[in-house]
């Protein structure tokens, strides 16, 4: 379905005498859809009870939501004595979300439905030090591929990006009208503007540790937990916290930069990134290979000419003593910092991610040993510490969930629900026109002004 088809919806609604764009109608539509979407109410009776709306209004709003393709009542639920009730189900396949993860060495892309569930994904190597223009072009090509491969005619409603560093964002969950600052080399590059214009859909961005934490929470081992600590181990070491089921971003979106914290090993004190990150692991591995202390690593060095942290991790897994020692030291240093966070936040689960953490049991064991040893017994009583099983998929799943939650955020949804689609919402159309004019008119990268706040438009007249 195209944008123009989506914009046909309001006309249809008005002809049928469905609610005009009044704030009250938008509010009840939003409330009912979110009750259905989050499984808090899935029959008409439950909706009347949970929304505190009358039968006629619930019935009318469900008819409108069905017209918009957002709910379906074709299935029957379980009968409790009388006739089986019709199930009211959210139609997550109504539209699509495309997502991407940008990492120092890899690029991932995925296609998701409106529930944030990944439908397909792809990962490939990427050199993030390459010009931003080339990376954005590649991203566009892969998004085109995902959308072209999708057999469904569902339109695109949102773009989610997982960035390799902390992202400074204005408060709230509004879509972006310009590219935020997250990587020095990408400063002033209008990549969000380019993606928004090319795919005619609103975009959101979060840091990789944030999206991965959200992904782990919703799609993997963290499912059901409301307090989770997520730690990513790579060249840099970062963390993200989920508190009461919500991502904690901090005042500047910079929460969790634990790689900056000083740690001490032997006589040396330096930031955790330098003392325990993948660069240190690779460097120590190479030194061991050159010194002849590790036959396994010496063999890899002789054949390939380089040692990576993953080589050291794999050698440790095979029982190489030097590699085990390197991984163990790194794990203890990370565990020391994570223990401090665990004592502060009292999570129910800690997930370690990053290719080194995921492929190496020694590092995981060292983190566990240190966290359990340095934490208050109450903190560790039911604490689970595990390695991620999702890998980079967590970033994609989390980015999709971020977009899904933002699209159905009551404030934003009230703006678009009576227009049938977020892409048909006047404020998004205005932003698109503004970006279009700036990108094509001046021919240079300038950022448009941020969109007016969603709240300012929640009572927009029809």
């Amino acid at each position: 379905m195209t944008d123009s088809q989506a914009t046909d919806q309001p006309e249809r609604l008005r002809q049928k005498g469905r609610p005009r764009n009044s704030d009250a109608a938008a509010r009840s539509l939003t409330a009912i859809l979110n009750l259905v979407r989050t499984w808090r109410a899935n029959t008409r009776q439950e909706l009347e009870r949970e929304s505190e709306l009358g039968r006629a209004i619930v019935s009318d709003r469900l008819a409108t939501l069905a017209d918009l393709g957002l709910v379906d009542e074709s299935e029957l639920g379980e009968a409790s004595g009388g006739r089986a009730p019709r199930l009211v189900q959210f139609k997550a396949e109504r539209a699509r979300i495309v997502v991407a993860t940008l990492d120092q060495t890899a690029l991932g892309v995925g296609l998701a439905d409106l529930s944030g569930r990944l439908l397909t994904e792809h990962h490939e190597e990427l050199d993030l030090s390459a010009p931003a223009e080339a990376t954005v072009a590649r991203l566009g090509t892969l998004f085109d591929w995902l959308l072209g491969k999708d057999a469904s005619p569902a339109p695109l409603w949102g773009i989610g990006i997982s960035a390799p560093g902390p992202v400074q964002l204005p408060p709230g969950d509004d879509f972006l009208a310009g590219s935020p600052s997250f990587l020095p080399a990408w400063e002033n590059h209008p990549f969000i503007e380019q993606l928004t214009v090319r795919f005619r859909a609103p975009a959101w961005i979060r840091s990789s540790v944030e999206t991965m934490a959200v992904g782990e929470l919703h799609a993997s081992g963290g499912a059901g937990a409301s307090d989770m600590l997520f730690v990513k181990v790579g060249k840099r070491i970062g963390a993200s916290a989920i508190c009461d089921g919500r991502l904690y971003r901090g005042a500047q979106g910079a929460a969790g930069l634990i790689g900056q914290l000083p740690v001490t090993s032997g006589a040396r004190t330096a930031p955790l990134d330098l003392m325990a990150g993948s660069d240190m692991i690779a460097r120590e591995g190479r030194a061991a290979a050159e010194a002849g202390a590790s036959p396994v690593l010496a063999d890899i060095l002789a054949r390939i000419g380089a040692i990576t942290a993953i080589d050291v991790g794999q050698a440790a897994q095979m029982g190489d003593a030097v590699s085990m020692e390197v991984m163990s030291r790194s794990g203890h240093l990370i565990g020391h910092v994570v223990a401090a966070l665990a004592n502060m936040l009292n999570p129910s689960i800690i997930v370690l991610s990053g290719s080194i953490a995921q492929t190496n049991d020694i590092l995981l064991a060292a983190v566990r040993e240190t966290v359990y040893g340095e934490s208050h017994p109450l903190v560790t009583r039911d604490l689970k510490i595990s390695a991620s099983r999702m890998g980079s998929s967590a970033g994609l799943a989390g980015a999709a969930k971020v977009v899904s939650e933002a699209l159905f955020d009551p404030d934003l949804m009230r703006e678009w629900i009576t227009h049938g689609a977020p892409t048909a919402m006047p404020r998004f159309r205005a932003t698109l026109a503004q970006i279009d004019a700036l990108l094509s008119g001046s021919g240079r990268a300038e950022r448009p002004a941020p969109p007016p706040s969603a709240n300012a438009h929640s009572d927009r007249p029809s």
């Binding site: 890899a106 994904e121 792809h122 892969l142 491969k149 794999q314 995921q358 099983r389």
Partner: protein, 331 residues
């Protein structure tokens, strides 16, 4: 040859030699007399036959009995029914090549929930996670295969011409990777070539799809087909209608190898090593049944095959002498 692609969850590949069975592993497995079922996307291809030889032989060395082999014929309902049945059967492990993506995901997930070790070969339905939903994926470096096929075809394409990428319509990890890699190589190394992607829904429609594309774009100068069986169908349809264009594909099946040796349309093949992939699958299965930790993605590199090296590559891939047709054609 290095592995150029990433795994289904962005993992870095683990080389197959990480899975080597020790004599102690073999003895332990022999003592426990495991039983294994195999669920194939298709049993009717040279690739399947070769990987089966690797799997069955290696399992046999460990006294693990293959109790059943299911040929799903690329049909998702058949695979779902087979997995549901085998999930209740007394087997220790199931080796499966998923025929599709979302459609067969839940059936595979149920296997792991039945406490049966699940080893995937070549494909992972989106949403399945290593560790909880399956034990390990063993596959070729499919991204690398796409790069090899692109480079082999590009050498036969004059500047500024159009080519067709005949891609599989199903959402299938292995063919997706080849398709993406092929496009990427062309974009980076031969931006003068315009790539038109055409999809076929099944093996019986590949020839028709190729012919339709050739008729719609009579100027096309070459074609890449994502694996050999549809490539043979595409070439037959093109030849019958007088279209003689260079073709590259993936997998050194017997028919494709013969065409390559004869210099008839196929100008290069990116070959998997299905026998060795089968060996790696069996080793991963044995280690999983013994309770060992195994990596989530094990990959084997692809091989570039041209008319010049097809005889020796045939031996490498098939572990057998090249047939007389090939030897004669090369004289």
């Amino acid at each position: 040859m290095p592995i150029t692609g990433l795994g289904p969850h962005g993992e870095r590949a683990t080389p197959a030699n990480r899975l080597k069975l020790s004599s102690e592993d073999q003895q332990l497995a022999q003592d426990r007399r495991f039983s294994v079922a195999i669920v194939l996307h298709t049993a009717r291809s040279d690739w399947s036959n070769q990987q089966m030889a690797g799997i069955v032989g290696t399992l046999g060395d460990c006294a693990a009995v293959v109790t059943e082999v299911v040929d799903c014929g690329f049909d998702a309902p058949t695979q779902i029914a087979a997995l549901e049945r085998l999930g209740r059967a007394p087997v220790d492990a199931i080796i499966s090549v998923p025929v599709a993506n979302a459609t067969v995901a839940e059936a595979h997930r149920q296997v792991a929930r039945a406490s049966i070790k699940l080893i995937l070969h070549d494909n992972v339905p989106t949403g399945l996670l290593p560790g909880s939903d399956y034990t390990s994926l063993v596959s070729a470096d499919n991204f690398g295969l796409g790069l090899i096929a692109a480079e082999l075809l590009a050498a036969h394409i004059p500047p500024g011409r159009e080519i067709v990428l005949l891609a599989y319509g199903e959402d299938f990890y292995a063919t997706n990777e080849r398709e993406i890699a092929f496009g990427r190589w062309m974009l980076v190394n031969r931006p003068d070539i315009k790539v038109r992607t055409v999809r076929f829904a099944g093996l019986d429609t590949a020839g028709e799809a190729a012919l339709t594309a050739a008729r719609a774009h009579p100027g096309i100068a070459g074609m890449f087909v994502v694996w050999d069986t549809p490539a043979i169908g595409a070439i037959a349809a093109l030849e019958a209608s007088g279209f003689g264009i260079p073709v590259t594909t993936v997998d050194l099946g017997n028919d494709a190898a013969v065409l390559l040796s004869q210099g008839r349309q196929i100008v290069g093949i990116a070959a998997q090593q299905p026998y060795w992939q089968g060996v790696a699958v069996a080793e991963a299965t044995i280690l999983a049944m013994l309770g060992r930790i195994i990596p989530s993605w094990v990959a084997l590199p692809g091989l570039a095959v041209t008319r010049q090296n097809v005889a020796e590559m045939y031996q490498t891939v098939w572990r057998a002498q090249a047939p007389r047709d090939i030897i004669d054609a090369l004289k």
